[in-house]
C-alpha cells in the first residue's frame, strides 16, 4: 500500500518547466530517498506535496487524499522539515517547537524534552541567535516529537554535525520501526545508503530511476582487476566491458553488472591468478545518473 502517490506531476513557473511528468510512490512503512542534482526539482516536488504550490498537471495523493484540496486533513498526519529553516527572530526555540507541535494538533511533552536533550538544544534562546544547525534542530525536534504517519524531510541535515547526524538517523529508524513512512531528500549519500529502502532519482524535472539500492546497483558497473596466466583474448569485443586498462597489478576494467556472469566465465578460460572486484559505490551510481551520460542506462528497473 502506498501512502504517497505522484502521477504525471507537472509544474511550470511561467514558461519554465520545473517538473515535467514526475511519477513515484512512497509505500507504507518505508524510507524513500529522493535524490538528484541541484535544481532538479526536489524541493519543488515537495512543496507541491505540501499543497504550498499548485500543480499544473497530474495527480498527487497522500493517504489517498488530494494534496491540494485536502491539505489540512493530510497535514494533521504529516511532519515536514525544510532544508532552509527560517524562523522568527524574536521567538525562542522552545516557543517555536510548541507552536509547531500545537499547530499539527499533537502534544507529546515527554518526547519533546527527550529530543531537546538528545539534540542538545537550548530552547530558551531567541531564534535570531541560533546557528543554521540549531535552527534545523528546532524543526527536527518539532517534527519528531509530533506523532505523524509520514515525514517529509527536505535536506534536513545539511547543517548538522556528525554527532547530530547520527541522532537524526536514529530518529528516522525509530520512526520506521514504528511503521511510519519517510520521504527523505538528501545530498548526503552515506545517509541515503544507511536509511533508505528505496530511492528515486530526479533530474531536470523527471524521475529517471526508482528502485531499491540493490536493484539500482545492477544498473551500474563493477570494477574488476585480474591477472591471468595467458593474455585474455577478445575481451574488448564482449558486451558490457568498459575502460580497459593495463596496469602493473594486472588488467583493470569495468563491467556492466548484469553482464558479470558471462564475462567471468570468459576470463576463467585463461587461468585466473588473481581476481579483485569492487562493487559499484553509491557515488558511481549517482555520478552515472547525475552526469548526462547517465541516459544510456535509463529505464531499467521501475
Amino acid at each position: 500500500m502506498s501512502v504517497l502517490e505522484v502521477r504525471n506531476l507537472e509544474k511550470k513557473f511561467g514558461k519554465f518547466t520545473a517538473l515535467d511528468g514526475v511519477n513515484f510512490e512512497v509505500r507504507s512503512g518505508e524510507v524513500f530517498g529522493f535524490i538528484g542534482p541541484n535544481g532538479a526539482g526536489k524541493s519543488t516536488t515537495i512543496r507541491v506535496l505540501l499543497g504550498i504550490l499548485k500543480a499544473n498537471e497530474g495527480e498527487v495523493k497522500i493517504f489517498g487524499k488530494d494534496a491540494w484540496s485536502d491539505a489540512v486533513e493530510i497535514h494533521k498526519r504529516l511532519a515536514y522539515v525544510p532544508g532552509d529553516v527560517n524562523l522568527w527572530p524574536n521567538l525562542t526555540g522552545g516557543e517555536v517547537i510548541d507552536l509547531f507541535v500545537k499547530l499539527r494538533g499533537g502534544n507529546n511533552k515527554s518526547k519533546r524534552e527527550e529530543l531537546i536533550k538528545k539534540f542538545d538544544l537550548d530552547p530558551t534562546k531567541k531564534c535570531r541567535t541560533y546557528s543554521k544547525g540549531n535552527r534545523q534542530k528546532v524543526a527536527l525536534i518539532a517534527a519528531f516529537s509530533s506523532d505523524a504517519d509520514l515525514y517529509i524531510l527536505d535536506e534536513p541535515t545539511s547543517g548538522l554535525d556528525p554527532l547530530m547526524e547520527k541522532v537524526f538517523q536514529e530518529c528516522v529508524l525509530e520512526a520506521k520501526n514504528e511503521g511510519k513512512s519517510v520521504l527523505l531528500s538528501s545530498h548526503i549519500l552515506s545517509e541515503v545508503e544507511k536509511l533508505c529502502d528505496r530511492v528515486g532519482i530526479i533530474r531536470q524535472g523527471q524521475i529517471i530511476e526508482t528502485g531499491t539500492l540493490n536493484e539500482l546497483r545492477h544498473l551500474t558497473r563493477t570494477h574488476i582487476l585480474v591477472e591471468t596466466k595467458q593474455p585474455i583474448a577478445s575481451l574488448t569485443e564482449l558486451k558490457g566491458i568498459h575502460e580497459v586498462e593495463e596496469t602493473e597489478q594486472g588488467l583493470s576494467f569495468q563491467v556492466d553488472t548484469k553482464e558479470l556472469d558471462i564475462i567471468i566465465r570468459h576470463i576463467s578460460q585463461f587461468g585466473i591468478v588473481k581476481l579483485e572486484s569492487a562493487p559499484p559505490t553509491l557515488e558511481d551510481l549517482f555520478m552515472s545518473h547525475y552526469e548526462n551520460k547517465g541516459e544510456r542506462e535509463v529505464g531499467g528497473v521501475r
Binding site: 527560517n86 524562523l87 521567538l91 525562542t92 516557543e95 510548541d98 507552536l99 509547531f100 499539527r104 531567541k126
Partner: protein, 533 residues
C-alpha cells in the same frame, strides 16, 4: 582598522546605486510631481493678491498652524503660499523616503545575510554603511536640484532662483537628517522593523513637537528638525541658517552611526539578547496568536503614537476657541453651518488626516502576511494543519481590530486633551462618531490590501500608493479646488463630514459592502495561488 575600514566603498556605492536605480528616481519623480502641480494651480486659482489675502483669513488660525507650520501670511505671494501649504508635508514624506531607503541597505540587508557576503569580500567594515549614505546623499542632492530648478522654471514672479533652491534644499536637508537618524537606529536596533519603527517615531515626534511649540513658544520649535523647515522662511526672508544646521546635524549623525557600527558585531544590536521562555504560552499556540506576537511591539508603539497624535491635535482646540472669540469676522464666516460649534468646524479636516494615518498600522498588519511568505515562514504553518483560509483570516481579523483600536485611541486622545482645554468640555460621543465614520473607508483599504495579497501578491505595495493618493487629494482638496470625482476616487472622499454633516447611512453602507466584498474575494485568490518565496 583606519583606512582599511573604507576599502571598496566606491565599488559598493556603484552596486547600491545600481540596485536602487529605479527606486530612487521613482521617489524623486513622485516628490517632484507632488510639488510641481501646486504653484501653477495656485496661480490659476488665486491670480491676484486680493484673492490670496482673502484666503489667508481662513488659514490664520492655530489648527492650520499646527498642521502646516507658520507661514508668511502678511505677504502671501504664490511662492509664500506654496511654501506654507506644501513644504512641511513634503518634508515629512521626504523623511519617510530617507528612512525606507537607508533601512533597506543597512539593517534589512544585514538581517537577510547579504552584508555577511559583502564583508567576506575584500571590503571594509564601514564601507557598506558609507556607500549607502553616499548614495542616499546623492539622491537628496539630486532632489534639491530637481525641485529647486524645477520650481524656478515655472517663471512665477514670487519664485526666484534663491527661494526655489532653498525650497529644494529644505527637502534635501530634511532627507539627510533622517538618513542620519535611520543610520543610527540601524545600529541600535536588531531588526529592520525596529529601525523603521524608531525612525518613524522620531519623524512623527518631530512633527508633533513642532506643532505644539509653533503654537506655544516658537523658539522651542528650533529643537525639532521639522521646525527648521519652516524656519527657513522660503520665498519670504530666505533664511539659509536652518539648512546649515541640517547639514551639520546630518554629518554628526553619520559620524555617530559609523562609530556605533565600528564597535558592534555584525547582526547584533546594542541590546543583548536575553534568554527567553522555554515553552510557548497558550496565546502563542495558534496562527492568530503567532501573528499577534510578531506584531506586538509595533502594535503597541502605534497605539501610543495614535493617542499622542490625537491628544496633540486635541490640545490645540483651546487655542482655537480663544482665537475665534476675538475674531468677529471669522465667527460670521463660519456661521454658515448651523448647529456645530466653532471648534467642531475643524474636526472633519483633522479627522481625515488622523484616519489616514490610522490606516497605516492595519495595512502593515495585513501586509505582514506577504512579508512572512517572502521569508519562507508560511511553509511552517501551511505544512501543518493550518488552512489557508484560517491563516488569511487570522491576519485579516488582526488588521480589522488593529484599525478599530487605532481609530478609537486617536478619538480618545483628541477628546481627553480637547476636553481639558475647551471651556465647556467636549462631547465624547460626537468625537467618537466623527472618527468612526472613517472606519468603513479604512476597511476598504484593508480589503484592498487583502485582495492584492490574494490575486497580485507581488503588487501588495500598490495599496500604499492608493493611501498616498487619498492623502494627497483630501489634504489638498479644498485648496486646489479639484473636481469632485478626484476626491471620490478614494474611499475617504465619500465619508460624510461629521459633525458638520449628518452621518448619512448610504455611503457608509456601500463602503462597508465593498470592503466585505474585497475581503471575500481575497480568500478565493489566496486559496488557489502558489505560496512562493
Amino acid at each position: 582598522m583606519g583606512q582599511n575600514a573604507f576599502t571598496n566603498t566606491g565599488k559598493l556605492t556603484r552596486l547600491i546605486f545600481r540596485l536602487d536605480r529605479i527606486r530612487i528616481p521613482l521617489w524623486i519623480i513622485g516628490l517632484a510631481i507632488f510639488t510641481f502641480i501646486v504653484p501653477p494651480t495656485f496661480d490659476g486659482l488665486y491670480p491676484s493678491q486680493q484673492d490670496r489675502d482673502a484666503i489667508t483669513s481662513t488659514l490664520a488660525n492655530p489648527a492650520m498652524t499646527a498642521m502646516l507650520g507658520p507661514g508668511d501670511l502678511e505677504n502671501y505671494t504664490i511662492g509664500a503660499m506654496t511654501a506654507h501649504e506644501m513644504l512641511l508635508m513634503t518634508a515629512v514624506i521626504t523623511g519617510l523616503m530617507a528612512i525606507l531607503l537607508v533601512t533597506k541597505h543597512t539593517r534589512a540587508d544585514e538581517e537577510d545575510g547579504r552584508i555577511e557576503m559583502i564583508r567576506s569580500l575584500p571590503s571594509g567594515r564601514l564601507s557598506y554603511l558609507n556607500a549607502t549614505l553616499a548614495v542616499t546623499s546623492g539622491a537628496f542632492l539630486l532632489l534639491t536640484l530637481v525641485i529647486g530648478f524645477g520650481l524656478f522654471g515655472f517663471g512665477i514672479e514670487s519664485m526666484d532662483l534663491e527661494g526655489s533652491l532653498l525650497y529644494g534644499a529644505a527637502l534635501g536637508g530634511t532627507g539627510l537628517v533622517f538618513a542620519g537618524v535611520t543610520a543610527v537606529f540601524a545600529q541600535l536596533s536588531e531588526s529592520s522593523r525596529g529601525t523603521i519603527g524608531w525612525s518613524v517615531a522620531i519623524l512623527l515626534g518631530a512633527y508633533l513637537f513642532r506643532a505644539i511649540t509653533d503654537l506655544s513658544n516658537e523658539a522651542l520649535s528650533w529643537l525639532s528638525p521639522l521646525g527648521w523647515v519652516t524656519k527657513a522662511e522660503v520665498y519670504s526672508s530666505n533664511n539659509w541658517g536652518p539648512i546649515v544646521l541640517m547639514l551639520a546635524v546630518a554629518i554628526l549623525l553619520f559620524v555617530i552611526a559609523n562609530y556605533l557600527n565600528s564597535i558592534r558585531d555584525l547582526e547584533q544590536g546594542f541590546i543583548a539578547s536575553r534568554p527567553g521562555k522555554r515553552n510557548a504560552s497558550r496565546l502563542l499556540q495558534s496562527p492568530i496568536g503567532l501573528a499577534f506576537r510578531l506584531q506586538r511591539t509595533g502594535f503597541i508603539s502605534w497605539a501610543i503614537g495614535m493617542y499622542v497624535l490625537g491628544a496633540s491635535y486635541g490640545s490645540i482646540f483651546g487655542d482655537l476657541e480663544s482665537f475665534f472669540e476675538g475674531n468677529e469676522m471669522y465667527q460670521q464666516m463660519l456661521q454658515l453651518s448651523e448647529g456645530a460649534s466653532l471648534v467642531e468646524q475643524f474636526i472633519p479636516t483633522l479627522m481625515v488626516v488622523i484616519s489616514l494615518i490610522a490606516t497605516i498600522p492595519p495595512i502593515m498588519a495585513i501586509n505582514k502576511l506577504r512579508g512572512e511568505e517572502k521569508k519562507g515562514r508560511l511553509d511552517h504553518l501551511l505544512g501543518r494543519a493550518v488552512s489557508r483560509s484560517r491563516l488569511l483570516g487570522s491576519y485579516l481579523i488582526l488588521s480589522v481590530v488593529n484599525g478599530f483600536v487605532m481609530l478609537s485611541l486617536s478619538a480618545i486622545g483628541l477628546w481627553s486633551a480637547g476636553n481639558a482645554v475647551v471651556e465647556n468640555g467636549m462631547d465624547f460621543g460626537m468625537l467618537f462618531g466623527a472618527a468612526f465614520v472613517y472606519y468603513p473607508a479604512m476597511l476598504v483599504m484593508i480589503g484592498l490590501a487583502a485582495f492584492l495579497n490574494g490575486f497580485l501578491p507581488k503588487q501588495t505595495s500598490l495599496v500604499w500608493i492608493y493611501i498616498l493618493y487619498s492623502f494627497f487629494v483630501l489634504y489638498l482638496g479644498n485648496m486646489m479646488q479639484f473636481p469632485n470625482w478626484v476626491g471620490q476616487l478614494s474611499p475617504f472622499g465619500h465619508v460624510p463630514q461629521v459633525p458638520i454633516e449628518d452621518a448619512t447611512f448610504m455611503p457608509l453602507f456601500i463602503l462597508s459592502v465593498i470592503a466585505v466584498g474585497l475581503m471575500i474575494l481575497s480568500f478565493i485568490g489566496f486559496r488557489k495561488r502558489d505560496i512562493a518565496n
